[in-house]
């Protein structure tokens, strides 16, 4: 690779362009914070008006899969950050390996969530608009509201996970073509920020879905 890295004509140096891309990603993540912030406000309203039913809904969720998924996602962020350390030293082979492990962990998360947990919920008639909704009687409304939040929240998070996995594949492809070096690895950093942000979204969804209202 040439020592001086190519940069777009409106920047004066490659490192300046790299930092600008990182700043742009942080600002994009700020918009995503507001996007999920709207969801959190619906959680506040739904729970405030139907606390009994809402907490009844929380007790129907599968805590073990949720906790396992949280662990999987936290570890995947750790592995990707490790990969970032390697590319800073120029070790492309280890970067690719770390990205693959992150990819696998991400797929495990999706498999657990949409392959195991969701079908389990459908089987238990927990889909909110199901006529034979599992919880009936006094706290039916609140439980339906909980599962509306549950399915929309996890679906949105799942969409962001799939986009994250796409970005990971793109980073792996470019790493294999040898485009990254200690002086130029902006896409790796930017995708790392996005992946850790998706982990952050899960870290806020996890208590809202699995924990609050769990105890007696």
């Amino acid at each position: 690779m040439s020592s001086t890295v190519a940069h777009d004509f409106q920047y004066e140096s490659a490192s300046y362009q790299a930092q600008t891309a990182v700043a742009g990603m942080w600002l994009f993540l700020a918009t995503e914070v507001l996007f999920f912030g709207g969801m959190i406000l619906t959680w506040i309203y739904s729970r405030h008006w139907n606390q009994l039913g809402f907490d009844a809904g929380v007790r129907q969720t599968d805590l073990s899969i949720g906790t396992l998924n949280t662990f999987v996602l936290v570890t995947s962020s750790f592995v990707y950050a490790l990969g970032l350390l390697f590319i800073r030293e120029g070790n492309i082979r280890q970067l690719i390996r770390c990205c693959v492990v992150t990819l696998v962990l991400g797929l495990i998360f999706l498999a657990l969530k949409f392959g195991v947990e969701w079908p389990e919920d459908f089987a238990h008639h927990l889909f909110p608009s199901a006529p034979n909704f599992k919880i009936s009687g006094p706290s039916e409304g609140g439980a339906r509201l909980f599962f509306i939040f549950y399915f929309i929240g996890t679906a949105l998070h799942g969409v962001h996970m799939v986009v994250g996995i796409g970005l990971l594949l793109w980073v792996i492809r470019r790493a294999r073509r040898g485009e990254f070096s200690p002086s130029y690895h902006t896409p790796v950093t930017v995708v790392g920020l996005y992946w850790s942000f998706v982990d952050i979204v899960w870290l806020t969804l996890y208590p809202l879905i699995y924990l609050i209202g769990r105890g007696r």
Binding site: G37, I40, F78, L85, I200, G213
Partner: protein, 99 residues
């Protein structure tokens, strides 16, 4: 031990620890309206990830500005947004008679 490896391990350890406390705290017999306090470890985990994995402290100063701005605007949305339901007194009948 690679430079920065310690940072990652500490971050990972902290996250596991906080996740555990969060899980345990959810089993405390809290009154229904105090249960959202379980979110405190959650918020700490978000902070740990943004410092540990996302290195918010590195890079240009506007990175930190955008992160703080996101948190401030989220706080405005949630605080002012929930001001209405928390203070909305349902239709209240004046005490016509006191038995």
């Amino acid at each position: 031990m690679k430079p920065g490896m310690m940072r990652l391990l500490v971050t990972w350890g902290l996250l596991i620890l906080l996740g555990g406390t969060e899980l345990a705290a959810s089993y405390l017999p809290l009154a229904r309206c105090w249960r959202p306090l379980v979110m405190i470890p959650g918020v700490l985990m978000v902070l740990v990830v943004s410092i540990g994995f996302m290195e918010v402290k590195k890079g240009p100063v506007i990175v930190r500005a955008f992160a703080v701005a996101a948190m401030f605007w989220l706080f405005v949305l949630l605080a002012l947004g929930s001001a209405d339901p928390l203070t909305r007194t349902n239709y209240y009948v004046p005490d016509i008679h006191v038995k």
